[in-house]
Amino acid sequence: MAHAIPTVVSGSAAPPPAQRRSRTGYILLFPGIAWLLVFFAIPLVTLFATSLQVPVPGKPGYFEPGLQFSNYATAMSEYWPQFVRSLVYAGIATALALVIAYPLAYFIAMKAGAWRSFLLVLVVAPMFASFLLRTYAWKTILADDGWITSTLNSLHLLPDHRVLNTGIAVVAGLTYNFLPFMILPLYASLSKIDPRLIEAGGDLYASPIWTFAKVTWPLSLPGVVAGTLLTFIPATGDYINAQLLGSTKDHMIGNAIQINFIQFRDYPVASALSFVLMAAILILVFSYIRKSGTEEIV
């Protein structure tokens, strides 16, 4: 008892635990917030400022601060085809990835048993090789004298008689490169489904197809939403696939930004394009999430 009293006194002098805890929270948050500020918020503001800069007369490649909103009009009027193409290519690649990934993830989650972990490693394994290297490999796979192209040609399936340097190759590259980002979230949500729910579907007069439509698919939707976002967003902004596997006619918005920054040194237009892309993706993503009714996953 004698020991308890001083403890109580010293305890009441310190700030209440709740307050202390919240201060600890801020201290722990600081590195993260500082990181975001220095490497995200400030560059973003700089980028926006750059997109409004005016050229210095007589000095090509030099710009000074300004409020030239017409940079956006210029950028869009010149590059809207690349912009639309980005969304279309990324959209097709996302759809293809979903169609390929879903059965695969379903198999790994529901049927693979002891092979689960091994198959998951196989899904991720390609990522150990560099993104660039893998995309280069596709150049060989889809080459004009490769077996894929010749097989498709003998079936008269190719309008241009080739795959490489066409939009098909770009979409194929995008689909391939982002496939793991589709498989993993799908696997995560499919493996969480209680197999008894699928049995219950069968027990309640639903054929396997109906059970899939009414039980498995809706329960896997969080994975579908996460997977499509993780595929669509980076695919829209990608320029490597278009550059290595496509012709200039297949360029995406990423290529336009890259060329403007590095080749033309037209920083305001490049920044404006970046900003529009960001805004477009944000709007698309939010309306998509709202429509699919799975706000809780983001």
Binding site: D194, G202, L204, Y205
Partner: protein, 390 residues
């Protein structure tokens, strides 16, 4: 279709066998479950009761044998085409659908258009109508359980299968749901096949209990019949408790007389199932009367008796449980109604246990006398007796 009366047919299992590799989970099971009955499959985990249920539901394919509902062979009918519904262990309610849609699921899949009326009246039957638009996660365990019953029953199945339906509920709620399920069964008249490891649950709810052990049925019948006259040591031990003594038959006519450790036990000939001299003489604990050895002269001459020393007394309100150590170091358990206040026997007292021959049963003496007692419980008894012996 137009008749209001629901067609009911008996469920027949014929030589039903399920093997997983070398082991037979269900071993040549032949069984008829009468239409409209409340049938319980009772057994410890791994006895094959759930596998049997899953085969009836169509969720598991039998290795051999057949399942008929009336004249209809459903052995190879896929689950979604069987007139059978299941209340799953932990319910398996669809988490993305509300209660109404969960219950309507079966009707919608069968292409029925007008689901609103039947769903609401089914929800009223299980007293959940006001919660129709809630999601399963927003309901308590007992409510979820009732949704699972409603979801299955609304389809008016020929047979309703219940797989440990009350296992996830706490004791008080379980008692309540036992009464509730029994009420619903009486109301709808559907055949209920209930799988459980809880012998009390099986006895209170079912009108027929089948005690399963290692893929076979040990005994089947009305709960009271099985309890009062078990045919195997497994049933005697698994369904309630039993005092079993290994003995030898010395004379057998209308009355069987057996001897063990210098004691003589008599029992009616029709309660003896031993085929040879070796017999296990048994009696249920509540059939015993405990008397202080000073009062031994009060025991009727015709009664069976055992002497011993009290090693444990536990008072449980309505009754008192005595553990009595016999001279041959066997523990007898006796339950006494607390009719008299005070004047109970205490630990260390020398007592006489006695019971009527008509409460005695005789089992085949070649079987394991401890069958049906879990290894864990057996270990505990051994530990306790070695302590008591000190």
């Amino acid at each position: 279709m137009s008749t209001a009366e629901h067609r009911v047919d008996d469920l027949h299992l014929r030589h039903l066998t399920k093997r997983f590799g070398e082991t037979a989970a269900v071993d040549d099971l032949t069984l008829t479950i009468a239409a409209g009955s409340f049938f319980a499959l009772l057994g410890a985990s791994g006895c094959g009761k759930t596998t049997t249920l899953r085969m009836i539901a169509g969720l598991e394919d039998p290795t051999s044998g057949s399942i008929h509902i009336g004249d209809l062979d459903v052995t190879n009918v896929p689950p979604h085409k069987r007139p059978v519904n299941t209340v799953f262990q932990s319910y398996a309610l669809f988490p993305h659908l509300d209660i109404f849609e969960n219950v309507a699921f079966g009707m919608r899949r069968r292409g029925l258009k007008d689901v609103n009326g039947p769903v609401m009246s089914m929800l009223e039957l299980v007293e959940l109508a006001p919660l129709a638009r809630r999601k399963p996660a927003q309901l308590s365990g007992g409510q979820q359980q009732r949704v699972a019953v409603a979801r299955a029953l609304i389809n008016r199945p020929d047979v309703l299968l219940l797989d440990e339906p009350l296992g996830a509920l706490d004791l008080k709620l379980r008692r309540q749901m036992q009464i509730e399920l029994k009420r619903i069964q009486t109301e709808v008249g559907t055949t209920f096949v209930h799988v459980t490891h809880d012998q009390e649950e099986a006895m209170t709810m079912a009108d027929t209990v089948a005690v399963m052990n290692s893929g076979r049925i040990e005994q089947l019948g009305h709960p009271a019949d099985i309890y009062e006259l078990p045919r195997t040591a497994f049933v005697a031990n698994f369904l309630g408790q039993a005092n079993l003594v290994e003995a030898e038959i010395v004379s057998a006519s209308a009355e069987v007389v057996a001897q063990a450790h210098g004691n003589t036990f008599t029992l009616p000939g029709d309660r003896n199932f031993a085929k040879h001299k070796q017999v296990i003489v048994g009696v249920r604990p509540e059939k015993l009367t405990v008397l202080d050895h000073f009062n031994a002269h009060l025991v009727p001459d015709s009664n069976n008796r055992v002497t011993g020393r009290v090693t444990d007394v536990s008072y449980a309100g309505v009754s008192t449980q005595y553990v009595v150590r016999t001279p041959w170091e066997q523990d007898f358990i006796a339950f006494e109604q607390n009719m008299v206040v005070g004047d109970r026997c205490e630990v260390g007292d020398e007592v006489v246990l006695h019971w009527s021959p008509s409460h005695t049963f005789g089992l085949d003496g070649t079987q394991d006398v401890n069958a049906g007692i879990s290894a864990e419980a057996l270990e505990e008894t051994r530990a306790a007796s070695s302590l008591g012996g000190e």
